[in-house]
């Protein structure tokens, strides 16, 4: 029996190790990106001057044949693993495009799992910095971004985070935000409630963490300024029963429900809204347009609801259409906002490194400065350029759910 137990535990450990390992086939697949997708990168790579630059933390000449390390701190396990997988796929796609354009493995993506925890994010970022990465994509969540803030500032290696919290305020010069902030998106949603949905009283169902509270605060500030009444109903992360909050909105006579919460909670809230308040107007945070939320919903729960998001795959914008086509061709699945946002982040870093190479100095500080001063680039989530608060994205999209299909309504810029 002891042997059996030992075999079982050894098997479990092997499974865990396999989970932590990378998938070599992805890189091969990623290398199949079409030449058309890589045109922009090719132009940059062709202009690269040989032997003029220095590697990350190493005083050696760069140029043709030089390899640059880019870090990725992604949520590969834990509560948000599916979204982390999209981060990884989009980043690998960009690296493959730029490597194909360079004609050799110019960029190497070092990936670390942040376990979807703040401690995990800190460990992942520290590891990536010690590995000599020039810049880091991720971590995604606001709280994880704040957890690594001091470290990246001390080590002077920049991170491009997906956290949309208003707490990421641009005070750290080594932290750039690759999605529109909650202040922008929630205010756009609140404005839509007033102007289009003609809300008189709004029920605000939001997570009580950094993300949910940030969005709710921005919306409440807008409603206060406009004299629109609201009912504030926070909930805990991972809550599964929202009956009390929905009944509170119902008894208060809310005509619109504004939800700002995480993916799993969004699906359950929409299920319970369909039971208790089927006729109410609804607008949600970006999660509502994601497949992993919509797959948990019936058509009638979400039909007619609106969502403010970074990106939808049905966008008619040329850059977005090309991106969707390339991503679908590579992975056989439709990209979501995570893929789009981190595609933009990876492109931004690669472009910054190429710019540094041209300038003759490729160090983490130089890459950071190049991102800060970079030219405007049109990417799937809109125009990328840096502002005073280190925000790289300044627009969002309003989508309407037709059944479970998100349809483009309008694009709103800051």
């Amino acid at each position: 029996m002891k042997k059996l137990l030992a075999l079982f535990l050894a098997g479990a450990m092997m499974l865990s190790l396999a989970a932590c390992g990378g998938d070599d086939t992805k890189e091969t697949e990623a290398a199949k990106v079409t030449a058309a997708d890589t045109k922009a990168a090719e132009t940059k790579a062709a202009d690269t001057k040989a032997d003029e630059t220095k590697g990350a933390g190493e005083e050696k000449p760069a140029g043709n044949g030089e390899t640059y390390k880019i870090g990725l701190a992604a949520m590969l396990t834990g509560d948000n693993a599916l979204n982390g997988e999209r981060m990884q796929k989009a980043s690998e796609m960009v690296i493959a495009q730029y490597n194909e354009a360079a004609g050799y493995e110019k960029f190497v993506l070092n990936t670390e799992d942040d376990l979807t925890t703040n401690e995990g994010a800190l460990t992942a970022v520290q590891k990536l910095i010690s590995d000599g990465c020039l810049a880091i994509i991720g971590p995604h969540r606001s709280s994880a971004a704040l957890a690594v803030s001091d470290t990246v500032a001390e080590q002077q290696v920049c991170v491009l985070v997906g956290g949309t919290s208003v707490a990421i305020d641009g005070s750290n010069n080594y932290m750039f935000r690759t999605r529109a902030s909650d202040a922008i998106m929630a205010t756009v949603a609140a404005t839509f409630c007033k102007d289009t949905l003609e809300a008189k009283k709004v029920g605000i169902l939001h997570a009580s963490d950094e993300y949910g509270q940030g969005g709710a605060d921005a919306a409440m500030a807008f409603f206060d300024a406009q004299g629109i009444e609201y009912v504030d109903c926070p909930h805990n992360v991972n809550d599964v029963d929202f009956t009390s909050a929905i009944l509170e909105c119902q008894s208060a006579g809310c005509d619109t429900v504004f939800t700002w919460t995480h993916d799993a909670e969004t699906a359950i809230i929409y299920q319970q809204l369909a039971t208790y308040m089927p006729e109410v107007n609804k607008i949600a945070s970006p999660g509502l347009t994601l497949d992993n939320v919509l797959n948990l919903c019936e058509d009638n729960w979400v039909d007619g609801a609106y969502s403010v998001t970074d990106f939808i795959s049905t966008s008619t914008d040329t850059v977005a259409v090309d991106f969707v086509k390339a991503y679908e061709g590579l992975y056989g699945e439709t990209p979501d906002l995570y893929a789009a946002a981190y595609y933009g982040a990876a492109v931004t870093i690669c472009e910054a490194i190429l710019a540094c190479e041209e300038a003759g100095e490729v160090t983490p500080q130089a890459v950071r400065d190049a991102i800060a001063a970079g030219e405007t680039k049109t990417l799937p989530t809109g125009d990328f350029y840096n502002d005073d608060a280190n925000n790289l994205v300044h627009s969002c999209v309003i989508a309407k759910l037709n059944g479970k299909a998100p349809e483009f309504v309008q694009s709103v810029s800051e």
Binding site: A19, N236, E248, D263, A264, Y276, N295, C297
Partner: protein, 292 residues
């Protein structure tokens, strides 16, 4: 206001029944092996994934067949866990080893789920998702089924423990392992059967909560914690205590939201746990439990 109270009462009873089942599951393992099984929320999740993720979504089996197969698989999983892990942990010198063992087991099950079914959440369309409107109240089929199944399950367990030879043997082990062994009862076998039964109850809880919380790696985390609270509040180690504690927590935490913001609902349960631990650590039915 009365509509709201009634609505919250129904939801509270339904969730309370779920907490009761979790409490019963804790109690069974505790009584049979003296172990606090901190992996049981992952067993609930595993049951839900086997039923929803494999039997229904992938294999497209009929619900009754899927239920029977899942129960059988979970029974085997439970027996294997007992034979391979629990039987060894309970006889170790310190309970700490056993507790760490079950915590690590939870992590292993969690990673297995992620590797086998992927990291996305799942929903079983058409499974207990109807809503009935009676007067001004909305009652979901999930809530009705939860209440009925929980009552039936408790009754079946009662009959099993009182009138079957195996059930009686399990009660003997629960009361005094040494005496039971001297009377010829195979302790390890008894723990295997208890753990198999417990894993099957986890599967039932998994079936029942799918329409409420969907299938995800964290679907049973809060439910698991509150099940533990229900056991303590009702009287740890006593099945009627777990039932009473579960319903009490479910109803109180829901009705409390009339007076306090819903965000503090979980805090109410954990506050009750602390109050009971400080004032009445034996729980509601503690005297009866001690007298047995």
């Amino acid at each position: 206001m009365s509509t709201m109270v009634f609505q919250l009462l129904i939801t509270g009873i339904a969730y309370g029944m779920i907490y009761s089942l979790v409490g019963i599951e804790y109690t069974l393992i505790w009584n049979s092996s003296g172990l606090l099984n901190f992996s049981h929320d992952k067993l609930i999740t595993l049951g839900a994934y086997i039923f929803g993720g494999s039997m229904i979504i992938k294999m497209n089996l009929d619900n009754p067949i899927a239920i029977v197969l899942t129960l059988a698989i979970m029974g085997v999983v439970g027996a294997l866990l007992a034979a391979g892990i629990f039987n060894r942990l309970y006889s170790m010198r310190s309970n700490i080893f056993a507790i760490i063992g079950t915590v690590v087991l939870a992590k292993i099950i969690s990673e297995f789920i992620r590797l086998f079914w992927g990291s996305g959440n799942m929903r079983v369309s058409g499974w207990l998702d109807k809503t009935y409107f009676i007067g001004g109240f909305a009652i979901t089929s999930a809530n009705i089924v939860i209440i009925i199944v929980a009552i039936l399950l408790v009754a079946v367990l009662e009959v099993f423990f009182k009138f079957t030879k195996t059930g009686k043997a399990m009660r003997c082990v629960e009361q005094n392992k040494k005496a039971a062994a001297l009377m010829g009862i195979n302790i390890n076998r008894s723990i295997c059967i208890t753990t198999a039964l417990s894993a099957m109850i986890c599967a039932v809880i998994g079936f029942l909560v799918i329409p409420l919380v969907n299938i995800s790696a964290t679907m049973a985390t809060t439910i698991g914690l509150k099940g533990f609270c229900s056991g303590v509040i009702g009287g740890f180690g006593y099945i009627p205590g777990a039932i009473a504690g579960g319903i009490f927590i479910g109803v109180v935490e829901n009705l409390a939201t009339i007076f306090i913001p819903a965000v503090y609902k979980d805090a109410v349960s954990f506050l009750l746990l602390i109050v009971f631990l400080l004032i009445k650590p034996t729980g509601f039915l503690g005297k009866r439990a001690q007298g047995r």
